[in-house]
C-alpha cells in the first residue's frame, strides 16, 4: 500500500490540523512557557556576565595572559630531580585515601544497620541515623579538612579524618540501601532453624550484602584518591600541598609534572580497583572514571 503525496489536498491538511492540533504545533501556553524559560535564563546569564566582568577589557586581557603566561609556561614539564619527593607525596595521598576510606567503612558498618528500615524497628532512630549521615556528607572534604587542620594540626592525619567523616556518611547511606534491598527469606530461614540475632546477621544478611558493600567501598576508594590529592591545599597532607606550593610560587613546569603524576596515579588506581572488583565480586558495572559520581 502506498500514499500518493500529491493526492493530499489543502482542505484535508486543514481538517487534520483541526482534528489533531498538537501534532502540528505547540499550544500557546507551551510556547509561552518555553520562551519564558529561555528568556529568563538568557537574562540571568547576561546579568552574571556583566556582574563578574566577563564583558570588560579585563577579561580579554586575563585570557591573553592565561594563554601567554600560564599555558605557555606549563610545558615542558620539569623538575624531574624532585621526583622522589613527588612520589613520596603521591604515596602519602594514596595512603590517606586508603586509611580514610577504611576508617569510614568501619564506622559506618554498625550504623548502617541502625539506618535501615528492615533492621531497625524504632523509626526515630532509623530516621535520625539517616539524617546524621546526610549532615556528614553535606560538607565537602575540603571544609572538613580545614576544620581538622585547626584541631589536629598540619599533616596527613587531618586529611584522613576528613575523608573518614565524609565516607562514614556516604557508606551509611550506601550500605543501608544495600541492606534494605536484601531478600528476607534467607534471614527467615536462619530464624526458623533456631538462629540467634548474631547468626541471622552472619548467615542471613552478610552473604547477601557483602559483595555490594565491598564493591561500593572499592569504588569510593578510587574516588577518594582524587579527593585526597587536593586536601593538601589547606595543609592536610599529600601531594596537594606540593602542587599548591609550586603554583603559588609560579613554578609552573614543576606543577605540570605533579599534575601529570596525579592523573597517571588516578588512572592506575581506577584500573586496579576495576580489576579487583571484577575478580572479587564479579562486578562488571561500567563505571568510568568521572570526577564526582555518587
Amino acid at each position: 500500500m502506498s500514499i500518493r503525496v500529491e493526492a493530499i489536498t489543502e482542505s484535508e491538511i486543514a481538517a487534520a490540523r483541526q482534528r489533531l492540533p498538537r501534532a502540528f504545533s505547540a499550544t500557546p501556553t507551551e510556547r509561552l512557557r518555553f520562551w519564558a524559560f529561555w528568556g529568563l535564563n538568557g537574562a540571568l546569564t547576561l546579568y552574571c556576565l556583566v556582574r563578574f566582568g566577563f564583558l570588560s577589557g579585563d577579561f580579554l586581557h586575563g585570557m591573553g595572559k592565561f594563554a601567554s603566561v600560564v599555558v605557555a609556561q606549563l610545558f615542558p614539564p620539569a623538575g624531574w630531580a624532585h621526583m622522589p619527593e613527588f612520589l613520596k607525596a603521591m604515596g602519602e595521598t594514596i595512603a590517606m585515601a586508603f586509611l580514610g576510606t577504611l576508617l569510614g567503612a568501619v564506622c559506618a558498618l554498625p550504623l548502617s544497620f541502625l539506618a535501615s528500615r528492615n533492621m531497625t524497628r524504632a523509626r526515630p532512630v532509623q530516621f535520625g541515623t539517616r539524617r546524621f549521615a546526610d549532615l556528614l556528607r553535606a560538607f565537602d572534604y575540603l571544609i572538613w579538612a580545614l576544620i581538622f587542620v585547626r584541631a589536629v594540626g598540619l599533616g596527613p592525619l587531618a586529611g584522613i579524618m576528613a575523608i573518614a567523616i565524609v565516607e562514614t556518611g556516604t557508606f551509611i547511606k550506601l550500605y543501608s540501601e544495600a541492606i534494605e534491598n536484601l531478600d528476607r527469606k534467607q534471614v527467615d530461614g536462619i530464624a526458623a532453624a533456631g538462629g540467634n540475632a548474631l547468626q541471622r546477621v552472619r548467615f542471613g544478611v552478610l552473604p547477601q550484602v557483602l559483595p555490594m558493600m565491598l564493591s561500593n567501598t572499592l569504588y569510593m576508594f578510587e574516588h577518594n584518591v582524587r579527593s585526597a590529592s587536593i586536601l593538601g591545599i589547606v595543609g592536610a597532607g599529600g601531594i596537594g600541598f606540593l602542587l599548591a606550593d609550586r603554583l603559588r610560587a609560579y613554578a609552573l613546569q614543576e606543577a605540570c609534572t605533579i599534575i601529570i603524576l596525579v592523573i597517571v596515579a588516578v588512572y592506575a588506581i581506577d584500573w586496579l580497583s576495576k580489576v579487583l572488583r571484577e575478580r572479587l565480586i564479579g562486578d562488571h558495572r561500567r563505571r568510568e572514571p568521572v570526577d564526582d559520581a555518587v
Binding site: N41, V69, V70, A95, D140, L142, I147, L157, L247, V266
Partner: protein
C-alpha cells in the same frame, strides 16, 4: 571422587584465596599506616580538641535572649548573604557556560556523529584532562592570570563542567535512535530540521537532567574554590577559620549546609518531574 572430597577441596581452595587476599590487605594497611605516619594516639588526642572546636562554632544562645543572640551571631549576615548570592551566581554561570561549550564539543566526542576518528579521539582526551584535573587546581591556575576574585573561580568550574558535560552528553548522543533521523530526512527535512525534530527531542531530556545535577555539584564547588581566593562564600569561611573567629565560621557553615541541602532538594524535585522521569528511564 566422592562429594565430600570435592567439597573439602573446594573449601580448601576458597580458604587459601581468602587468606591470600587478607595478607595482601594487611600489607597494604601496614604500608599506608607507615606512609601516612598514622598514629592512633594522636587521633585519640585530637578527638577532644575537635569536639572543643565544633562546640566553639556555635556561640552561647539563651532561650530568653534568643533573638538578640542569633542577631549577634549573624552580625555580618548581610555580607555573608551577598557572598552566598555571589556563590550561587558563580555556580549558575559556570553551569551555563560549561554546558554550552561541553554540549557543543559532545557532538565531536560521540562515535556516531564525529566526522573523523582523530577528531573523536582528540576531543575525548581534551575532555578527560578538563575533568580529571580538580576544579580547585584550575582555580589556582586561573588566579595567576586573572588575580584573586570570582572570575577565576567561575572559569575553573566552567572548565571542569565542560569536561564532565562533554563526556556525559556524548554518551547520550551515542545512544540516540537513527529511526527518527531517517524519518525526517525521508520526508524532505533539511539538516537543521533533522537536528531540531529528530535529534533534539531525543537528547534534550537527558541534557536537562544532567545539567540540574551538575548545578548541584557546582554549588558545592563554588563554596570551596574561595579557599584559594577564587571568590564566593568559601573565602569568608577560610578567612574566619584562619583568624580563629570560630562563631563566624559556624554561622557561615550553617548557611552553606542549608544552601547545599536546599539546592539538592530542589534539583531532585526538578529531575523527578516530567523531564527527569524521561531522562532516568534508561
Amino acid at each position: 571422587v566422592t562429594f565430600e572430597e570435592q567439597y573439602a577441596a573446594y573449601r580448601r581452595q576458597k580458604r587459601w584465596y581468602a587468606a591470600g587476599f587478607f595478607i595482601v590487605f594487611l600489607a597494604c594497611l601496614a604500608a599506608a599506616w607507615v606512609t601516612a605516619r598514622f598514629d592512633p594516639l594522636v587521633l585519640l588526642n585530637g578527638l577532644p580538641r575537635t569536639t572543643e572546636f565544633l562546640v566553639k562554632l556555635v556561640p552561647p544562645i539563651g532561650m530568653s535572649t534568643f533573638g538578640a543572640d542569633v542577631r549577634e551571631w549573624y552580625w555580618d549576615g548581610a555580607k555573608w548573604m551577598d557572598s552566598l548570592l555571589s556563590t550561587l551566581l558563580m555556580a549558575y554561570l559556570a553551569t551555563v557556560l560549561g554546558t554550552a561549550i561541553g554540549g557543543f564539543l559532545s557532538f565531536f566526542a560521540a562515535r556516531n556523529l564525529a566526522q573523523h576518528y582523530v577528531v573523536y579521539w582528540v576531543t575525548r582526551r581534551v575532555l578527560e584532562v578538563a575533568r580529571t584535573v580538580p576544579d580547585i587546581v584550575w582555580a589556582l591556575l586561573f588566579i595567576i592570570a586573572f588575580g584573586i576574585g570570582p572570575l577565576a573561580g567561575i572559569l575553573a568550574i566552567t572548565v571542569h563542567t565542560i569536561g564532565a558535560q562533554g563526556k556525559l552528553f556524548a554518551e547520550v548522543n551515542e545512544n540516540i535512535s537513527p529511526l527518527p533521523i531517517d524519518g525526517v530526512r525521508a520526508s524532505g527535512g533539511t539538516w537543521f530540521q533533522v537536528m531540531r525534530f529528530a535529534v533534539l527531542p531525543q537528547v534534550l531530556p537527558n541534557y536537562m537532567s544532567y545539567t540540574f545535577w551538575r548545578m548541584e555539584l557546582n554549588v558545592r564547588s563554588a563554596t570551596i574554590v574561595g579557599f584559594v581566593g577564587a571568590g564566593g562564600i568559601g573565602h569568608d569561611l577560610f578567612t574566619s577559620v584562619q583568624l580563629l573567629y570560630f562563631a563566624d565560621a559556624g554561622a557561615i557553615l550553617l548557611i552553606v549546609v542549608a544552601t547545599v541541602m536546599l539546592i539538592d532538594m530542589l534539583s531532585e524535585q526538578f529531575r523527578h518531574s516530567a523531564i527527569g522521569k524521561a531522562a532516568f528511564a534508561r
